[in-house]
Symmetry: C2
């Protein structure tokens, strides 16, 4: 079975367990709307790929980690789309949760998904309960305070923010959770896999910034030009488009180089390259570079990002 | 040391662990505002009282349960006060979180507190990790879908709602979590303590409805008359004030009767009676009854609540 198929199955099972007839029907509907149909499911796929590379001796636990991370991601999308943040009317190519179900249910949907993420993880730990406390610590750290995705979103309310700290918390943290918890779910050392999550997370955020400017709404599944509109810190403002593309490519290389040697290292590297192509197609980069060298067009300031 | 003092210490420790200098300062401030100064801390006190009655062989775990439940409660207050729900400007006698810090940080504060609750619980389970999965299941069930406090709040978005189902989810669930998880944290059977949480939770909700009508804003720490203003299902609309008072008293009696026999049963019963007096002072009830019998005033319809 393809990994993505298994992930969809596991997500459906996690939601079914919460969709008892006693659940308020609109809440159940809004939660389903937030999770299905999904995006690329890149974080749970990453968690499972790392778990497989580490031997995956407890598939149920690794799947629980993958589901928990995807549910956290879905929760963050629902809350980030709220009127008090982005007020996004669309997400994944259709109505955002608050647009479809109203603001109260969108707030509660995010809350319910965070709870369900931990509940699913705990239920998946019956064979390896001793791994649960550390797994919870990894996932909670990457979601909450001081530097998880919730903290990342909170940086948008501060007048001063470091681009790196913001992006690492808002986007990178959940990629670190995916690689670290994926490894730990298979009994491996999570620290060895942290750099992969770190590099991929930053690459993913830079790719998002690039596509926000390139205007590929079909790839983003949400409106373009949001960073400039909301005056959010972003890589383009710091590096310009060509600088951001070069930075993206160096991050993908660093991600690939960070993969610990082992029987599955080669296939993991292939997966990273495949994801890179999906995020920012090489052909689009080359086309931009060609036009850029002809016109000299570069709207950015080419400041370097501090690391 | 008094239980309440220890609870405040444990809450402070839980927040300190998340208040790294790398945390966005406004988020850290808003989270602190949501937790300190607290209310009566009735739920964590209940959890610890039950744990003590069950022998409390792992005080750190029992304290972790108490803190997790209080943080969940604080999270629910912050989100319930949001403009899209009650739009409450005050809470616990001072500005609500969204009024003091703005709506975006209030949404994120609730999220961060839910995550911190689970993180604190996991960190407290190092001596008894095998109890963690079941503890998480109890707490997650009492917070999330289908019938935890999040689901309780979601019932307000439905056109049809059973008063019992609504109140049991919105308020009762966290009392059940306190008694059940308190017992389990000490290695006891959580089922034996579920009825106590059930009865106390309903009693607490009915008391809240009574005080909302009696106008004791000083006891509530929030504006009065909110139930009628927001057209929320409440016990007064169903039973009238004198019916609600009688119902409250029968629930307290049932709570006391449900306490399993044991060396600490008597002190637990004393605690229940003490809490009853704090919630709805007997003198106030007697005064109301005296005036009611003179005037025949009873604004309710005396419908029975289905159980």
């Amino acid at each position: 079975m393809k990994a993505i198929t298994r992930i969809e199955q596991c997500l459906a099972m996690a939601l079914a367990s919460a969709e008892d007839p006693s659940c308020p029907p609109k809440l159940a509907g809004a939660v389903r709307h937030a999770v299905f149909p999904g995006g690329a499911r890149i974080r749970p796929q990453l968690a499972l790929a790392v778990a497989r590379a580490c031997g995956m001796d407890d598939p149920r636990l690794s799947e629980g980690v993958a589901v928990a991370i995807e549910l956290m991601h879905c929760a963050s999308l629902v809350h980030d789309d709220l009127p008090c943040f982005d007020d996004a009317k669309t997400r994944r190519g259709r109505a955002s949760v608050h647009f479809a179900y109203g603001e109260p249910l969108a707030v509660l949907t995010g809350d319910a998904l965070i709870v369900l993420a931990f509940q699913t993880l705990a239920a998946a730990a019956s064979q390896s309960p001793l791994r649960l406390p550390a797994l919870m610590h990894i996932i909670a750290s990457c979601v909450g305070m001081p530097s998880g995705i919730v903290a990342g979103q909170a940086w948008e309310s501060e007048s001063r923010v470091s681009l790196m700290q913001y992006q690492r918390a808002k986007t990178g943290a959940l990629f670190v959770a995916a690689t670290s918890a994926g490894a730990l779910s298979a009994g491996a050392d999570p620290k060895q896999w942290q750099a992969l999550g770190d590099c991929l997370g930053e690459a993913y955020q830079v790719a998002d910034d690039i596509r926000d400017v390139m205007g590929q709404a079909d790839l983003l599944g949400k409106p373009v030009g949001q960073d400039a509109q909301h005056d959010r810190p972003n890589a383009i403002a710091n590096l310009g488009l060509s600088g951001a593309i070069a930075h993206f490519e160096s991050l993908i290389q660093a991600a690939s180089d960070s993969i610990p040697e082992g029987p599955n290292a080669k296939s993991m590297r292939g997966l990273v390259m495949q994801e890179s192509e999906r995020l920012v197609p090489r052909a689009a980069c080359n086309a931009y570079r060609a036009s850029d060298s002809h016109t000299g067009a570069n709207s950015g300031t080419n400041q370097s990002v501090s690391h």
